[in-house]
């Protein structure tokens, strides 16, 4: 495991632990925690905080029959939920978003590829594949953008990001992430709004690519 230098901010981990993050961000944070022990420990600390609130927030008496009905259901068969183990560079939460299948890459030109994992009212998540030395088209975004490196590394004006590193970019950051030489860079990215590209051609293509 390489050293992770860019961590999830504590507020993001708290919001994730409390279940208040929109789904796209929750996927990125769950994947980061899968790779980062430090953030896992902080996340578990927040679960302890939640547990303390659960213990102290105040009890409400339950109906007389509830306990009996739960005890009677213990032997009822329960359908096991499918689990998605890590495959290659894709941690479990990404494999779940992929429903256990390999990514379906679509070309964005210049060797850059993407695979949309989800797209909806709450925002979108996608995998990006960037050849070494190649830049992601210059873009800004309406809200928060989270980018997590799964393979290789990229650099932009804010620093260098390797496997497990999480970049948190707010709407003021106009950045041009460029894959470092070596292996192609694969990232998991989430936004709460469509991306805005700053040059004309990607902007025209944007509705077709859903980015």
């Amino acid at each position: 495991m390489t050293a992770i230098t860019h961590h999830a901010p504590d507020a993001l981990l708290a919001a994730y632990a409390a279940g208040s993050l929109p789904h796209p961000y929750a996927l990125v944070v769950a994947t980061h925690i899968s790779l980062c022990l430090e953030c896992r420990a902080e996340y578990e600390a927040h679960l302890a905080g939640g547990g303390a609130v659960l213990e102290t927030v105040g009890a409400e008496a339950v109906s007389d029959g509830l306990k009996t009905s739960v005890l009677n259901l213990l032997d009822a068969p329960c359908a096991p939920q499918p689990t998605y183990p890590r495959t290659g560079v894709y941690p479990g939460p990404v494999m779940e978003a992929l429903k256990g299948k390999p990514p379906r890459w679509k070309s964005l030109g210049l060797g850059v590829r993407q695979s949309i994992l989800s797209s909806g009212r709450e925002g979108s998540t996608r995998l990006l594949y960037i050849p070494p030395g190649q830049a992601v088209p210059d873009h800004s975004h309406n809200g928060l953008e989270l980018t997590l490196v799964l393979q290789g590394s990229f650099s932009d004006s804010t620093g260098r990001f390797g496997v497990g590193d999480l970049e948190v970019a707010d709407q003021d950051l106009e950045h041009t992430p460029t894959a470092d030489p070596g292996a192609p860079c694969i990232c998991l990215a989430a936004t709460d709004a469509p991306l805005r590209f700053n040059s004309l051609v990607p902007r025209i293509l944007q509705p077709f690519f859903r980015i």
Binding site: I33, G50, L54, E60, V62, L66, V70, G92, P93
Partner: protein
């Protein structure tokens, strides 16, 4: 330890004791977020059944019972009210707990849980209300970022403990 008796012995009496402790708290927790009594009880039922079925994933060296059940409770609420499954982190490989339990670590986790409860009880009412709202899932990420009352000192000590345990486990894996 009721939870371990449930996990290792499938002990129904221990599960009934867990139910007596947690079901009213879970119901209170759900009603605080505005859920009506009958629906709150439906969710309590599902949470307690999940506790029974997923008991094998409980690791007392990593989490207190209340923290573990809190996570299940929030997942169930998200499932019911947002109709989605919250993405969850991968379990650590070291989660296999057939090795002899680390009694010191389990005790430390329990002590920190009770310290955390006491710290919460000592807070001023308005600070406590913010923490409760945050962990009830009523604050957005932006609101949590701007609230300064969240990082409790006691939570920080728990962070260190959790981290040491994780490092220890990883060393053993290598």
């Amino acid at each position: 330890m009721w939870m371990l008796a449930v996990r290792d012995g499938r002990d129904r009496a221990a599960f009934a004791a867990l139910f007596d402790h947690f079901a009213p708290r879970l119901k209170g927790f759900f009603m605080r977020s505005g859920t009506a009594s009958a629906q709150a009880e439906e969710i309590v039922q599902e949470v307690m059944l999940t506790v029974w079925h997923k008991a094998g994933q409980f690791d007392p060296a990593r989490a207190q019972v209340s923290a573990w059940i809190y996570q299940i409770a929030r997942n169930r609420q998200i499932d019911v009210f947002r109709k989605e499954r919250r993405p969850m982190p991968e379990e650590l490989l070291s989660d296999a707990h057939d090795a002899e339990p680390d009694a010191t670590q389990i005790l430390a986790v329990e002590q920190e849980a009770s310290q955390l409860k006491q710290a919460l009880a000592r807070l001023k009412p308005d600070q406590r209300a913010i923490i409760e709202k945050a962990y009830l899932g009523e604050l957005s990420h932006q609101e949590i970022s701007t609230e300064t009352g969240l990082p409790l000192g006691t939570i920080k000590s728990r962070i260190r403990l959790g981290l040491e345990k994780l490092r220890h486990d990883l060393k053993e894996l290598r």
